[in-house]
């Protein structure tokens, strides 16, 4: 029945206790490798750090608290193109608020976006407000796992427009970093009627000539000092080994998946390959250990390690920083970009202008990294207000 398929059902997370107990049992029984042979994270997250995190996970961490953080918010599920999409939907008390769909990435989840909800839906007096829609990507968290290929960024982008229309938002904006940026840019290219503009905090701003120079297939173009600094950093990034997870997941998501599905320590260890966690410690205050474990536990308890990895396979290895790969010049709606200084690269405004002809907001802030909404929610919310104020 058509009415059933487009139905929006309320949702509350309630993971069976037997799953929570099984996770704890596995954590306690972890069989560890020997310590790394270096004094840094160049072979992966150091044994001592992961052991300490797993110890905390198995003893003091409480999944029910993480679950309660989600259940304190209005959550729903609706089926789109055959896949159940889980989403958080918080309407601002201000009726004239701008509807926005915010998309997380990997190894993130809706958890990384929880702290922006309050400042964006309930801003300081006189500031613009947003109605927020925060979906879980297909294959992630409480969304369903696609059982057929084809759920790449383009299809997800189309599904997001369908979701916004189903919520009766016929005039909205979209935002994302990491995979969220790739999907938001796909929305910008598709240009559905209701989409007024987009904002990304990991832009695909590396121009084709720079990319060729990085790959060694073209000459190094003339660059300003600022461009040169970013170019050098990108070149260093390529040899640092940080991008290995990207290639492993693109090539063989299923092979990576077996370990991440059977070993929670293996799953956590793998997450820390992501440069967004570089330098992380147990007493990190921007991404606390409880918040990190909410995120990892969500992947574990929903058995999403392999299904989430498949998004990389679907995308055929296109780099999220590549203008040509993401066809950013085909985006027709206004684009806003905020560069958070500790993200995987700092695109100069000149590159952003070349890559995004419809760029109408560009700002580089002084703090925050790859998980900007998680790390600097107040600053992030402020950037959203500034970026979208011309569109109101």
């Amino acid at each position: 029945m058509a009415t059933v398929a487009t139905e929006i059902r309320p949702f509350a997370a309630d993971v069976p206790q037997v799953e929570v107990d099984d996770l704890r049992r596995r954590l306690v029984a972890t069989r560890w490798p020997d310590r790394e042979t270096v004094q840094n994270d160049s072979q992966g997250i150091p044994l001592a750090l992961l052991e300490a995190l797993v110890q905390y996970w198995a003893t003091d961490y409480d999944w029910r608290r993480g679950e309660a953080r989600l259940n304190a918010l209005p959550q729903f599920i609706t089926e789109i193109h055959g896949v159940d999409i889980h989403f958080i939907h918080v309407r601002s008390p201000h009726e004239d608020a701008l509807p926005m769909i915010v998309t997380h990435g990997w190894p993130g989840s809706v958890f990384e976006l929880l702290k922006i909800i309050e400042p964006m839906t309930n801003p300081p007096d006189g500031e613009h407000a947003f109605h927020l829609v925060i979906p879980s990507l297909p294959g992630y968290g409480f969304s369903g796992h696609p059982t057929e290929p084809g759920w790449g960024p383009d299809r997800i982008a189309g599904a997001w427009d369908e979701l916004m229309r189903r919520l009766d938002y016929d005039d909205y904006v979209a935002q994302g970093g990491d995979w969220g940026a790739v999907i938001t840019e796909a929305m910008g290219r598709q240009g559905p009627a209701g989409l007024r503009g987009i904002h990304v905090n990991l832009p695909g701003a590396v121009p084709p000539d720079v990319e060729a120079a990085l790959a060694g297939t073209g000459p190094v173009p003339e660059m300003t000092d600022e461009e040169r600094a970013t170019f050098d950093a990108l070149r260093q990034y390529r040899v640092s080994g940080y991008s290995g997870y990207f290639i492993a997941m693109t090539n063989r998501p299923q092979a990576v998946g077996y370990g991440l599905t059977d070993s929670p320590a293996g799953l956590a260890g793998f997450f820390f390959w992501h440069p967004g966690f570089a330098g992380w410690t147990l007493d990190d205050r921007r991404k606390t250990k409880d918040e990190v474990l909410d995120d990892v536990s969500l992947y574990w308890l929903t058995n999403s390690a392999a299904s989430s990895s498949r998004l990389y396979w679907e995308n055929h290895g296109v780099s999220p920083t590549s203008s040509a790969g993401l066809h950013t010049t085909e985006i027709t709606v206004p684009v806003g970009i905020t560069v958070f200084p500790d993200d995987i690269y700092r695109p100069p405004e000149s590159w952003a202008r070349r890559s995004y002809p419809t760029l109408n907001y560009f700002n580089q802030v002084d703090r925050g990294g790859h998980f900007a909404a998680w790390e600097e929610p107040t600053l992030f919310a402020k950037e959203m207000r500034r970026a979208f104020s011309p569109l109101r």
């Binding site: 997870y245 998501p253 092979a255």
Partner: protein, 393 residues
């Protein structure tokens, strides 16, 4: 006994695996939590769920866990310390006193297990004049060799250790053989040309996997080889890159989940994967790539807890390559023999082998066998070594 004597002592070694370790392994296999099925009909997303399910079933229910111990203890094994690492090795002397000493190096995801069936045909060949004394070491960080606790154990350092080992065994003149990581070690030995090394035989052209620059691509064979290398580098390279950049990260899963370890080890090249998958899913092994033999190897990795340390050898390889960037190693002057097995990642044409090694004394392309040539086709492999080294006797 002086310290020096202790360090160079060669101690007999026997495998002893406690029942509790086997029980623990069995328990973990039974408790495996699996991902959902892949979304494609081939291995392009990785080892297929049906393959791993069949493997898990056989491993937990039908596999005889005593096999590893039994098969290894059936041959003389030793341990000796070289350069701070305990090196485990099998050493089988031919009954023919003037046999040619040969050191064979396994690769990843292999071990001495893959070489067990070549021992008999090499030490006791049809013709006495073709016999070898066989030395089969476990790479540092693999199997019963100890794990290096310091940096620097790339293939070149292992190559030096192997020369020390042959010397310590009293072999003044010997030959060396290797495929996969064993080809890297053996190629490094050929470059180092230690005293006594009379020649080498390889079944993987290491150099072409790193770069095909300067290799001819005109004939049909050459173009096919180039295409196969490129395919590997674009879609089959994930494990290589992962191990060479973050071995500790992948190690956490490999040490904690036997099925993750099995899947990781099966996800090597397409040819060996399809042969092994067929053994488990359809019960149709190719050559000696039987379910039991494949599980012997995986069980050895599990019981010795070497998933991370073995992966680390790739990290060392990456580091060594970065340090050596821009430096061309001296050309190999000693004799090189090569066999191309058809199922290998790419079929190295003679022209490529000759472009890499100036002194090729033997080249042959055989009709069976793949990446794990010695394991899959031990008789054919042994026949190739006999033919390859005949002129050096």
């Amino acid at each position: 006994m002086s310290v020096v004597e202790t360090a160079t002592a060669i101690r007999p070694f026997q495998v002893e695996i406690g029942d509790e370790h086997v029980e623990e392994l069995r328990r973990r296999i039974a408790a495996t939590r699996l991902p959902g099925r892949e979304l494609v009909g081939d291995r392009s997303q990785g080892v297929q769920l049906a393959t791993i399910e069949a493997l898990a079933r056989y491993w937990a229910n039908d596999y005889d866990f005593g096999r590893v111990q039994e098969r290894l203890n059936a041959v003389p094994q030793f341990i000796t310390e070289i350069d701070g690492v305990d090196v485990h090795f099998i050493h089988v002397r031919s009954q023919h006193e003037d046999a040619l000493p040969l050191i064979i190096t396994h690769g990843w995801p292999g071990s001495v297990i893959e070489m067990l069936d070549v021992i008999e045909p090499l030490t006791s060949p049809p013709s006495a004049g073709d016999a070898f004394h066989v030395v089969i070491p476990s790479l540092p960080g693999y199997g019963f060799s100890s794990e290096p606790t310091e940096l620097g154990w790339y293939s070149g350092r292992t190559a030096q250790a192997w020369a020390v080992l042959m010397n310590r065994l009293g072999y003044a003149r010997f030959v060396a053989q290797g495929g996969d990581q064993g080809a890297a070690v053996t190629d490094d030995m050929a470059h180092q040309a230690p005293e006594g090394l009379a020649g080498v035989h390889l079944n993987l052209l290491r150099r072409a996997l790193g770069s095909t620059q300067g290799l001819p691509a005109e004939s049909e064979q050459e173009r096919a080889a180039l295409e196969a290398v490129n395919a590997f580098r674009t879609s089959g390279f994930g494990y290589f890159l992962e191990q060479s950049t973050r071995p500790q990260t992948i190690g956490y899963g490999l040490l904690d989940s036997p099925i993750a370890l099995a899947a990781w080890m099966l996800d090597h090249d397409t040819d060996s994967y399809s042969k092994i998958a067929s053994a488990f899913v359809d019960g149709k092994p190719t050559g000696k790539l039987t379910r039991d033999n494949v599980l012997d190897n995986i069980t050895l990795y599990w019981l010795t807890g070497t998933g991370a340390s073995a992966a680390r050898s790739y990290w060392e390889g990456g580091r060594a390559a970065a340090l050596a960037k821009g430096k061309t190693p001296p050309a190999v002057s000693i004799p090189v023999a090569f066999t191309t097995f058809p199922g290998e990642i790419f079929r190295a044409p003679r022209s490529w082998v000759e472009a890499v090694y100036p002194n090729v004394i033997y080249f042959n392309e055989v009709e069976r066998g793949g990446h794990f040539a010695a394991w899959e086709e031990p008789e054919l492999f042994a026949a190739e070594l006999r033919a390859a080294f005949r002129s050096l006797r």
